[in-house]
């Protein structure tokens, strides 16, 4: 038996509160790990992340790549025999990682999310071309995928101008704390 000294359910309770999910029902059957399409890009299987949280291993849980690689496709939680909303737990961990300034294992993923929300804040809708340009500029690798970008422009997969919401005030209200 592993004895935790001091016993810590602080993290577990906090993530439960943030996500609204009781993941202590997890019996580690690994169904989530077996059906996750992106397991090979993760350093911990989804159930292992739940275990880290249960054991109060805060630093490891917040700094793992899994919480960023999970795209929330809901495959795991639709198969989970205990109906645990695992992607919602990942959301809770990401939010805490950002708030506490933890080391972000996949900064590219976070940078992408930030660029998406930037365009939603500006226009009320996403603007793919701007997201891609700003994301690539930040990464300093405009040339990577340049050919693909040109193909997408040629095939008119990337609109040049954004589609916008008229009621800017309403969008401002949603982003008031940002």
């Amino acid at each position: 038996m592993i004895k935790l000294d001091p016993p810590s359910d602080g993290l577990s309770n906090e993530i439960k509160e943030r996500s609204g999910i009781n993941f202590n029902a997890c019996m580690h059957c690994k169904t989530c790990a077996n059906c996750c399409p992106f397991l090979e890009g993760m350093d911990f299987a989804p159930n292992a992340v739940l275990r880290l949280v249960q054991l109060g291993q805060e630093k490891t849980a917040l700094e793992c790549s899994t919480i960023w690689i999970c795209v929330g496709c809901n495959t795991c939680c639709s198969f989970c025999p205990m109906a645990i909303d695992i992607p919602a737990v990942m959301d809770g961990l990401r939010h805490k990682a950002i708030e506490t300034g933890a080391k972000i294992a996949e900064p590219d993923v976070l940078s992408f999310h930030n660029e998406v929300l930037n365009t939603v804040k500006k226009y009320g809708r996403t603007h793919k071309l701007e997201i891609m340009m700003r994301y690539k500029l930040k990464k300093m690798n405009l040339l990577d995928d340049m050919g693909l970008g040109l193909t997408m422009l040629k095939k008119r997969k990337l609109d040049l101008t954004p589609s916008k919401v008229k009621d800017k005030k309403a969008i401002g209200k949603i982003f008031k704390n940002e």
Binding site: E40, I69, V71, G72, N74, S78, V116, V120, G124
Partner: protein
């Protein structure tokens, strides 16, 4: 429905296209609208709708993830069901709607923020629900001959996977097989039809997305499919841009195949927008004029 009295049989919906359909999957939107016209379904675009928050909002900001769908819900006219074409937007909107419905404090927050009473009766449905409400055979003769045994692998991606709070939603497993089969396609089952396409990992982790996409496309090819069909504009884009297999089979939007089968002539506007050109295959099968 009261508003169907004047035009018997017509189904009327508020329509939420979402950013993917509105701004990159134009061929998806165009063919979807044409299909709906053909089957007497009227879609009225939700006035001034905003992004549902997509994967990014819930990933990094809980409040914004809640408020973006809330505003959309507040815009829907009373008594008209809201139809959503994008599977991911559907989950975001429906999940937010149900959480407001089940929480007095969220209801209060909603009503204070958006200045109107919460609509307890609002029906939010995915596009696939249409097929429970119409019968394609009512709109076309000799349906069985339309798609000329085109071998199609149905790709649902993550759309059939519902989070636990939506586990009592209707499952649309088999809708594409049933509908396209009825229109004369030869549906090809394959192993990766319900595996996620990788969504934004195709930007942030392209190598990982590529592995997943190649597995999906080669799975369909090994099963003997001549093309794939998707129900999501995002999946469609990923399958096209991250596939590195030599000579991959083309991927069509479900709405394109439906419209094509129903005799819509507008395809000249849709197919040139595909990165993997489906026209040689469709010509060979006699589905479009050469």
């Amino acid at each position: 429905m009261n508003n169907t009295q004047h035009k018997p049989g017509k189904l009327i919906f508020s329509f939420f296209p979402g950013c993917s359909l509105k701004a990159s999957g134009h061929e998806n939107t165009m063919s979807l609208l044409k299909f709906c016209q053909k089957v007497n379904v009227e879609l009225k675009e939700l006035d001034d709708w905003n992004c549902c928050g997509s994967s990014s909002a819930h990933s990094i900001n809980h409040d914004i993830a809640r408020h973006l769908p809330m505003r959309n819900i507040s815009l829907v006219p009373r008594g008209v069901p809201l139809l959503i074409a994008c599977p991911s937007c559907f989950i975001r909107m429906k999940s937010t709607y149900l959480s407001i419905k089940n929480s007095a404090s969220l209801k209060k927050e909603y009503e204070e923020q958006w200045g109107q009473p919460f609509d307890e009766e609002l029906e939010i449905i995915h596009f696939f629900e249409i097929f429970s409400r119409i019968n394609i055979d009512d709109f076309i003769d000799n349906a069985q001959e339309k798609l000329k045994k085109l071998k199609v692998a149905p790709y649902y991606g993550c759309m059939l996977s519902m989070p636990p709070d939506l586990r009592f939603e209707k499952s649309y497993y088999g809708v594409m097989e049933q509908t396209l089969g009825q229109l004369g396609a030869d549906m090809v089952p394959f192993g990766y039809g319900t595996q996620c396409c990788g969504t934004y990992l195709s930007v942030a982790k392209p190598a990982l997305a590529q592995t997943v996409v190649n597995k999906i496309v080669s799975g369909a090819m090994e099963a003997g499919a001549e093309c794939m069909v998707t129900a999501c504009a995002m999946c469609h884009l990923n399958l096209e841009i991250r596939c590195t297999i030599k000579n991959p089979i083309p991927t069509l939007h479900f709405s394109e195949l439906l419209s094509l089968a129903l005799g819509e002539e507008d395809q000249k506007k849709w197919f040139p927008r595909h990165i993997v050109d489906p026209r040689p295959l469709l010509k060979k099968k006699g589905l479009i004029a050469s």
